[in-house]
Amino acid sequence: MSNGSSFEPKIVGFLCNWCSYAGADKAGGSQKSYPPNVNVIRVMCSGRVDPQFILKAYSAGADGVLILACHPGDCHYKEGNYKAMQRHRLLLRVLNQLGIESERCKFDYVSAGEGDKFISIITEMVDAVRALGPLNKVIILDNIGYNTMEERS
């Protein structure tokens, strides 16, 4: 994979069904274009985002992962977004030890009405990861929960 300006990062976005996914649909409704690099995976609640999903995304070739949740106090399931936020903070420390920059794992809040915010988060994330270049480490997930890392070929 080549570095430089032609590099198009692959990003996986986990969006909660009620706020962020609806926010992404709202952005669609306004028909403003944004970079196509984010592959959206819909979950019912950001609280469903198991840190393993994020590690899995890196190991499957993602250069960045984005988790979008309802704003504090607005979670459809009361407090799943707090859990997601806490897990994200913890995971950043693990990623740090694995040598993965925190810009590659972003957590933010997008409400159903915030189409424009969704677009700017996507744009900034893509720019930030493009600037970092490809993630050239691979996380090896084994099924007993230990994660190790190898250089990507």
Partner: protein, 653 residues
């Protein structure tokens, strides 16, 4: 596995930007993809018919529909699948309109992005399992806690439809706070007369047999879930037969014991056997056993002997009992109380004579109150001036930050009532803010302003008011921030904020409901669902949810009744969404991580097996538990780890 892919052009919404040929080529070589079909408008009647017929003909194992947002038409297509004899959960929708066609520059890029999304769906859908909606029986009956305006209105509304209502009231009387008032704002209607028809309907009306009233009772335990709650209710004995007593009151006068009368806020005394106040309903006395001589070992039977109906009406052997009732829903309507004015000690509540709270003043104004409605000071004088202090503990970050909205109305009402009782008394309003929202509320303020004996003075901070007993026997009200002279009055009425009643925390614990930042019962949503608690099947109505007036409480009682009537229709089964969590008992280590996380208390640990299980009625399918289980025992139906892992691999492939 045979997977069919359907690509919708959405008129030209999608096909203008996403080239189906490019997408098809990108999918080439994917195993399991049996066919790729294009339709112009799949959500149209023709489109749905095409999908239906095609599924029937092709008999795929799974299908992927690349079209608009699932938020738009997932349910539409699920119904088509069901109609075509295919389990509706064996489908995955791909949002190539809102999240691809409409937002991507250039056909090549849009087509590539759409192909990635579709690959994710193809990978994922293989892991979908057929899921079935389950349904269980529900009880249409209801438990209502609190027999004030909100609870009573809900009770009669629900009882009229033939359902059974258990109405639990802590005090010996029904009617709530307003039955203690002589007149209510905004038009000084006689409160007991206003409520009488409603109370009568509840006690003796056509549907009264559907309402079981348990006075002197408390809910001590609630188990189960929406549709199937079981409540334990503790009944304190009344010691008088509710059904046979005719309420003549002969027994009351003969009782030799005098105690403070809490129904008049301790402003006078009552006997150990008593009615709460004249006209209280149910019109049957009760014995306060903490005061009765019999509790002290004496064999007093004066009340029983005085009963014109003879023995058997007064029941000295009446004992506390706990009864169990089953119901589908619960309405909490326990009302509010006043903010404790004693927390602002310089106002003299309870220490300076003739300083009253608004609830106490209501009783002084009432013809069934301690003075028979006569306004006299504690030294027996007719007051020449009365000071009304608004905003006591309101709009103040040291106390309650909100405005209760009703205290100003009460104060304006007092102005008019005092004017009627004492022609030329001076009335002072000391306030922080004056409010009179609503179509009828301005009237009382206007009347107060028009009284030449009324004066309005603003204060900035309740902490700067000092209320003391003056040497001449009057009351001195000083504003320490103001250089102007102090006011003297013969009576002071403090109008405190409405605050959560003191049982709120205990009741929240029993019901599993929550309190908001102010301590009121917390609603599901402040605008959309303010009569729903955060627990499914438990509704909240009246001032226990937020400060409000009688009209609003009645309306919210109706709102809660509406939820019950539409949700718990007779004979209807409770449909349980299959997207819930489930536990693989083999793998569960009993660590309880999931139990502590679940916001709906849907998970419980079996005491014997030490394994978790998920209650499918309570579970809302958020998946938070599945993300946390360290043993991988918890899985989230339709959003299983396998499915999401596969989708991740698919979109990145």
């Amino acid at each position: 596995m045979k997977i069919g892919v359907y690509f919708c052009n959405c008129g030209s919404n999608i096909s203008d930007k996403v080239d189906s040929v490019q997408v098809y080529q990108a999918l080439e070589g994917l195993t399991d993809v049996a066919y790729f079909k294009i339709n112009d408008l799949m959500c149209s009647e023709d489109g749905k018919q095409f999908l239906n017929d095609d599924i029937a003909a092709e008999k795929p194992d799974r299908i992927v529909i690349a079209a608009c947002s699932p938020r738009e038409h997932e349910n539409t297509f699920m119904r088509v699948l069901t109609g075509a004899g295919m389990n509706p959960y064996l489908m995955q929708m791909v949002n190539i309109r809102e999240q691809v066609a409409w937002v991507t520059d250039g056909v090549d890029k849009a087509s590539a992005k759409a192909a990635q999304f579709i690959k994710g769906a193809i990978k994922r859908v293989g892991f979908h399992k057929p899921l079935e909606k389950k349904s269980i029986e529900m009880s249409p009956d209801v438990l209502i806690i609190g027999a004030g305006p909100a609870g009573l209105k809900a009770a009669i509304t629900i009882a009229e439809t033939g359902r059974k209502v258990t109405l639990v009231e802590k005090s010996p009387v029904i009617g709530g706070q307003p039955v203690l008032y002589e007149e209510v704002f905004p038009n000084l209607e006689c409160a007991p007369c206003m409520l009488e028809p409603l109370l009568n309907e509840i006690l003796h009306g056509e549907h009264a047999e559907n309402i079981e009233i348990l006075t002197l009772s408390e809910v001590v335990e609630l188990t189960g879930f929406y549709g199937n709650f079981i409540a334990k209710i503790k009944k304190t004995p009344r010691y008088a037969d509710l059904n046979q007593c005719i309420g003549c009151g002969e027994c009351i006068g003969v009782c030799p014991v005098d105690i403070k009368n809490e129904f008049n806020n301790g402003l006078d005394v009552r006997h150990a056997i008593s009615l709460s106040f004249a006209g209280a309903l149910p019109n049957v006395p009760f014995i306060d056993m903490t005061a009765c001589l019999r509790a002290k070992g004496e064999d007093c039977k004066l009340c029983e002997r005085s009963c014109p109906l003879g023995e058997g009406i007064i029941l000295y052997d009446d004992a506390e009992e706990t009864v169990e009732r089953r119901m589908g829903a619960v309405i909490v309507a326990v009302g509010a109380s006043l903010y404790d004015a004693g927390l602002i000690p310089k106002l003299g509540a309870g220490t300076v004579p003739d300083v009253y709270t608004s609830f106490e003043f209501e009783r002084l104004l009432s013809s069934t109150g301690p003075t028979g409605g006569q306004l006299v000071t504690s030294s027996g004088k007719t007051p020449e001036s009365i000071a009304l202090i608004h905003c006591v503990g309101s709009l103040d970050s040291n106390h309650k930050e909100y405005c209760s909205g009703v205290c100003c109305q009460s104060a304006f009402k007092y102005n008019l009532m005092v004017e009627h009782k004492l022609n030329d008394a001076h009335i002072y309003h000391l306030y922080k803010e004056l409010v009179y929202p609503g179509k009828e509320e301005f009237f009382l303020y206007k009347r107060a302003k028009e009284n030449i004996n009324s004066a309005f003075t603003r204060y900035l901070n309740i902490g700067s008011l000092e209320i003391t007993a003056a040497e001449d026997g009057r009351i001195l009200i000083k504003n320490t921030l103001s250089e102007k002279g102090a006011i003297k009055a013969d009576m002071v009425v403090l109008c405190p904020a409405l605050a959560p009643s003191k049982d709120t925390d205990k009741l929240n614990e029993v019901l599993g409901t929550t309190a908001d930042t102010y301590g009121f019962f917390e609603e599901l949503h402040g605008r959309l669902d303010c009569a729903k608690s955060k627990v499914r099947g438990i509704y909240i109505a009246g001032a226990c949810q937020s400060p409000m007036n009688i009209a609003q409480a009645m309306t919210q009682g109706m709102a809660a009744a509406g939820y019950v009537l539409s949700g718990l229709a007779e004979g209807k089964q409770l449909e349980i969404e299959p997207i819930t969590a489930s536990v693989d008992a083999q793998r569960c280590s009993g660590c309880r991580v999931c139990m502590l996380l679940c916001p709906y208390k849907a998970i419980s640990l079996d005491a014997e097996t030490r394994k978790s299980s998920v209650n499918e009625v309570l579970c809302q399918g958020c998946g938070t538990c599945a993300a946390a289980c360290p043993s991988g025992a918890l899985s989230s139906n339709h959003f299983t780890n396998e499915a999401i892992f596969a989708e991740i691999e698919g979109v990145l492939a």
